[in-house]
Every structure is written in structure tokens, then in C-alpha cells.
Symmetry: C2
Subunit: 172 residues, 2 copies
């Protein structure tokens, strides 16, 4: 069974079979010819490796305990890996919360700086959207920092559709 099939036909979002069965994205540009790019929905992630990835893009450190809890309670987690020979490196991460029925919200999309500009962020997001749609989620949402609004627009996300505003609560 091909990789994509094994990734996207399973109803178990926490399936652990995908990282090892492999496959790669033909359309990824500028990727080292000796490297293969893999996606996985496996949640048994080395959280220190994830922290390293988040450090690389300058995110604030978050308690590992809470990151673990957030991953466990996300509806979907998709990681992106670069494999060269026997070495596999985490180069991307994304997750979504959901009510499993109508709405999903995407959080913590990150691609390692060395892997940016190669279409991999786009590929990661497309996998996330494809999986959410296959689960019959109709409303896929996110909150975008100003510098990535155009990136998400190119993927089909619209800011403030029909005047709907994203809002954040601030303590008094």
C-alpha cells in the first residue's frame, strides 16, 4: 500500500504506521536529491526535537508537559521529516484542534528555516487540509500572524470573510 493511502485512509488520526512506511513528495522544490521528505500523523514525537525545531524559528519556549498535553488533545498532528540515509530529522510540525464535526482550528505551523522556500510549508498545509476535509470538517480556520497572511491566502484561506473577525480575550 502506498504511503499516501496509508496516511489518509486510516480513521485513527494518531496512527503510528506512517512515519516508517514512508514515501516522498515529488513536487517539493530544491530538496537535496539524496533526501526524502515524509509526513506522519504519529504523535509519539521526541518533544525535545520539536522544541529544537521551534527554537530554530525563534518561538518562545513552552513547558514540555503542556506541549505533550496539547498534542494529545489535538484532533490531528502532522509532522514533516527529512530522511537522508538512516538519519531522519524533524523539519516541520502542525496540528489542529476540532470538535470532530464542524470546525477545526490550525495551530503551531512550523517549518525549519533550512527547509523553507522549497514548497514544503505549502505541502505540509495541504496534507493537513486534505486530512481535515476527509474527516468531513467543513470549517477549517486559523489565526495568522501578519507576515504569514499571504502564505495562507495562497493556500485558499481568506481573512475576515463576510466581516467575521478573529478575536482574542485579554484579561482585565
Amino acid at each position: 500500500m502506498g504511503f499516501w493511502k496509508s496516511l489518509f485512509t486510516t480513521s485513527d488520526a494518531a496512527s503510528s504506521q506512517t512515519a516508517s512506511t514512508g514515501g516522498y513528495i515529488a513536487e517539493a522544490k530544491g530538496v537535496d536529491e539524496n533526501a526524502r521528505i515524509f509526513f506522519s500523523t504519529d504523535r509519539t514525537i521526541d518533544l525535545y526535537e520539536l522544541e529544537e525545531l521551534c527554537d530554530a524559528v525563534g518561538w518562545s519556549r513552552r513547558p514540555i508537559r503542556k506541549v505533550r498535553k496539547a498534542i494529545q488533545n489535538s484532533f490531528l498532528v502532522i509532522t514533516m521529516w527529512e530522511q537522508k540515509g538512516n538519519r531522519r530529522r524533524l523539519i516541520g510540525f502542525s496540528r489542529a484542534t476540532s470538535d470532530h464535526a464542524f470546525n477545526a482550528t490550525i495551530w503551531d505551523v512550523v517549518v525549519h528555516p533550512d527547509s523553507q522556500g522549497k514548497g514544503l510549508g505549502r505541502a505540509l498545509m495541504n496534507q493537513l487540509i486534505k486530512k481535515l476535509r476527509s474527516e468531513d470538517i467543513s470549517n477549517v480556520t486559523l489565526f495568522a500572524d501578519p507576515d504569514v497572511v499571504n502564505f495562507y491566502k495562497q493556500l485558499g484561506f481568506m481573512p475576515d470573510p463576510e466581516g467575521i473577525k478573529g478575536m482574542f480575550w485579554y484579561p482585565d
Copy 2:
């Protein structure tokens, strides 16, 4: 044990004890003197009664099966009830999805038209926020239709903070 205590000290968001143990909001304005207003986190809701409430505010009908699934998979559900004598009527509903660690997103906030303009929507939201904060959720978010942006502003929600945009995915 007082109502508020029984509602907000339980760690089980699906606790069923609250609707019947009762208590009422002193600050609710213009409420019939013979009526008491209750909040509950109990999820065993008559989904046809909920549909009736959503019909009353003109929402599009949604499949009961999916509504049930969404309620089951929400992090928190808070309903608001008006009790007169032995009769209890569902007059408000709200729910939130979450990763149980960092982020929550509020969906489906509804107050029956007969109960609007009395501070009850505000009271419902305050309970929701209070409960989310008590669970150590730091990022409380929502997507607001244009006509309710000011309502949420008054509750402490800010649109597009630091230029962060709410975005929705639309199929090609």
C-alpha cells in the same frame, strides 16, 4: 455546597450535577422575578430543544448526529436555563474546542431572543471564560460575526491583536 462552587471546582467538564443543584445570577437584569437562571456544564442535552433554540435565532439547521458529535468532542459546553416553578427551559448555549493546554476557541454562542438584552449573554460568556481560565487555558479565541464584534469587545475580546488575522479556508 453553593452552585458556583459545584460548577467551577469540578475537573470534569461533563459533570452532570450542576443543572439540578441550581443557584441563580443576581446580576441578571429584567428577568422575571419568578424565574431563576441556571448554568450547567452537563452535556446530556435534549438536542431537539437545542435545535429549537438555534431555530429561534435563525441559524441554519444542522444534522443532529453531527451536533451530538461536536458536543461530545468539545472541551467545554455551558448551557443556560430559565426555571419557573417546575418548568425548565433552555435559553442559552455555548461551547469551546481546545487542546486542553494552550488554546481554546469558542463556538455556537446563542441566547434565546426572549432572553436577550438582560445581561444573560454576558453572564454566559463570563462563565465560559472563567471556566477556561480555571483550566489554565491562556489563549481564548473566537470568530465573531460583524454584528456581535462590539458585544465581544465589551467582554474583553480584541479583534486582530498585533495584526493577527482570523482566516477561513475555502475549497477551490
